[in-house]
Amino acid sequence: MPDAELTTDKKNKPDTIIQLIVFRLGEEEYGLRIEQVKEVTVTPEIARMPKTPPFVKGIANLRGDIIAIIDLEERFRLRPADEELPTVSYTLAIEAKDYTIGIVVREVPQPLSVPVSSIEKAPEFIQDININDKYIEGIVKIDGRIIIVLDMLKLLTPNEIMQLQPR
């Protein structure tokens, strides 16, 4: 997107505050808009599902809803292959377009309020990291932290999740 347009956009609504849920994947911090997160919970017991890609950890019973649990660290290779998830992990239940899905993270996710203006479009260096830039809504720089804001709706289309799905 051209820079000029971004600048005007900022000027129009400089004070809007949005809330993010921030969590750690690998070495970086990532954020999601809070309205995309249905709940945060200690990861329930997961039933491994054969014939799914390894990053799909399985399915779990979340208050009577059966949801798929995926591991984004594994999906984007943000964690050494031999390292397992800790015994206690947390799950973000995300509301995708027409279903709910769980994302497992190792540390308790934290809420964070940031002005919309602090979200910048992803710069070039983003190409170097593992997450394809089409899933990234922008980058937040605040108090010396860099938080990558993900666009979950794009990340969680069935095609994206099941891309490695065996026949």
């Binding site: 017991e45 039933a47 799909v56 019973n61 009577g64 279903y99």
Partner: protein
């Protein structure tokens, strides 16, 4: 539980009373505007329906009145009579009489005598003046009651929702029951046991509310058969039986297309032309039977024709040509196994088979519909004598009997519909044939595979099996799909249980290996294996 007879009577009563209400309404409209053709058409239709329903139920006197009334409304419709004066008065009396007669039937009383009315109606038909007795109408007015129908029409969507809720409730109930046993409080256990019984009954009632007669589908077929037969220039006599067998409405919906397909196929390809039949020494008229019956908890629907039958040899040839089976192996297969090839996707599209065997445009589609219900499709045929397709269907979609087993410390379920038997075998009972484990089960050689290996990721062929890998007693589930038996080695059998299957949620619903999930009493998620998909996976990965 009410008898079928009584249930029909109640349905008749409810419909008849509703028809009477509608008649009263329409005839008043007609009085206001004698040229209201919509009201007139409705009256004609209502009379006609009431006539057929009453005659079918044996209430001939009501049928007789409705018949006479129908005739007059027919005359008004064709403008031979006008709705006015004494004619209108007689018709009003007629509608009142119908109401009184229906009520009498409902109250188990003697149906009022309608001869005076019938005489008057006859006079009107002949164009004579009716003999009116003024007091009759007045008396009727004084005793008139308002009736509300005993029958409620309900959208199937609402019943679906109710059934889903009951399913959820049962899962929670099982959880509560398990917890109450763990906690060991006797008061809690008592109320949990009560909850168990109530939910059981609730589930049964909701399932019962969804049942409809198979006849509601079968009765549509005489017309279909007539049309196809005349297009194909065949002579067909259709016999229906078992119309009063009951089945879940949605199951009937799902098999509608499949049944239509089988019937069309039977007339178009199964039955021969009159000339061919006579040449073969059969009567010119072909026999087609559509029947329904219950067998244990299942409903069997059969489509039988006395046509040319399936030529097993040409199917066998075709199966080899299409690479579905090796030439040697094909020779070994019995007729039943060969006919099962007809259900292979795309197989039946082969034109040659269609012409020679006279069978099979898109039988795989029929098969898929039945599979989706967890049912079975079988075909039996004698060359030159005819073919029978049998649909084995569950009565209800809500609950399925399942066998629970353990693999890698997780519980899985497999529907009983596709389970043949369970056996425990020792390594000595297993033999390696061509890289596959084989076991003799009930006099039949069945390939056996470790379910763990089969479920391992990747689509590459399975490693050849060796005797060394089977140590100690093996728990094996023999599954059966499309006449193919397969033994699955699991870690441990758990138990047999009725389960409520929840469909797999997105995005995992694309994995066809699992028919869904269920929650166990322990709260544990349990995957339900889909035997058709599992069999296909085995066939794809062997060798």
């Amino acid at each position: 539980m009410k008898s079928r007879e009584q249930e029909y009577r109640e349905m008749y009563m409810a419909e008849a009373l509703e028809a009477y209400d509608a008649m009263s309404r329409h005839i008043s409209e007609l009085e206001r505007n004698p040229h209201d053709s919509q009201a007139l058409n409705e009256l004609f239709r209502l009379m006609h329906n009431l006539k057929s329903n009453s005659r079918a139920m044996g209430y001939t006197s009501i049928g007789e009145v409705a018949h006479h009334m129908e005739t007059i409304f027919g005359l008004i419709r064709s403008k031979e009579r006008e709705f006015s004066g004494s004619l209108a008065a007689v018709l009003f009396t007629g509608v009142d009489m119908i109401g009184a007669m229906i009520r009498a039937v409902g109250d188990d009383e003697v149906v009022p005598d309608s001869n005076v009315l019938l005489d008057n109606l006859d006079r009107l038909v002949r164009g004579e003046e009716p003999v009116l007795e003024g007091e009759l109408a007045d008396e009727e007015d004084a005793t008139r009651k308002l009736e509300l129908s005993d029958l409620v029409y309900i959208q199937i969507k609402k019943l679906d929702h109710l059934l889903n809720l009951v399913g959820e409730l049962i899962i929670d109930r099982d959880r509560i029951l398990t917890l109450s046993q763990e906690i060991g409080n006797s008061a809690l256990q008592t109320s949990a046991a009560h909850l168990f019984r109530i939910t059981d009954e609730l589930q049964y009632s909701v399932m019962d509310a969804r049942l409809v007669n198979v006849g509601s589908l079968l009765n549509k077929f005489p017309r279909v058969v007539r049309d196809v037969a005349s297009a194909e220039q065949k002579q067909v006599e259709l016999t229906l039986s078992g119309q009063d067998i009951q089945i879940d409405r949605n199951i009937l919906q799902i098999i509608t297309d499949a049944l239509l397909h089988l019937v069309r196929n039977a007339v178009a390809h199964g039955l021969e032309t009159p000339a061919e039949r006579e040449k073969a020494g059969k009567p010119a008229q072909g026999q087609l039977t559509l029947s329904a019956q219950t067998e244990r908890d299942d409903v069997l629907i059969q489509v039988t024709d006395d046509g040319r039958g399936i030529d097993v040899e040409s199917v066998r040839r075709k199966a080899v040509e299409r690479g579905l089976v090796g030439k040697e192996a094909a020779r070994q297969l019995d007729d039943k196994a060969v006919r099962a090839f007809l259900f292979e996707p795309g197989f039946s599209m082969a034109k040659e088979v269609t012409e020679i065997s006279g069978r099979g445009v898109g039988l795989d589609v029929v098969k898929l519909a039945i599979d989706s219900l967890g049912g079975q499709l079988r075909v039996d045929s004698v060359l030159g004598q005819g073919t029978t397709f049998t649909l084995v269907l569950p009565t209800s979609i809500a609950v399925k009997g399942a066998l629970l087993f353990e693999l890698d410390e997780r519980s899985y379920a497999i529907p009983l519909m596709h389970t043949d038997s369970v056996v425990s075998l020792w390594p000595d009972d297993l033999h390696v044939v061509g890289g596959l484990l084989m076991a003799e089960v009930q006099g039949e050689n069945v390939p056996v595979v470790s379910l763990r290996r089969l479920l391992q990721n990747g689509d590459e062929p399975l490693q050849p099996a060796t005797r060394a890998e089977v140590q100690g007693r093996q728990d094996i589930i023999i599954v059966n799909y499309n006449n193919r038996k397969l033994g699955l080695i699991v870690d441990r059998f758990l138990r047999q249980q009725n389960i409520v299957i929840k469909p797999m949620t997105k995005p995992l619903d694309t994995i066809e290996l699992f028919g869904g999930v269920t929650l166990l009493g322990s709260g544990q998620v349990c995957l339900v294996l889909d035997v058709p998909a599992l069999t296909r996976l085995f066939l794809a990965r062997r060798l």
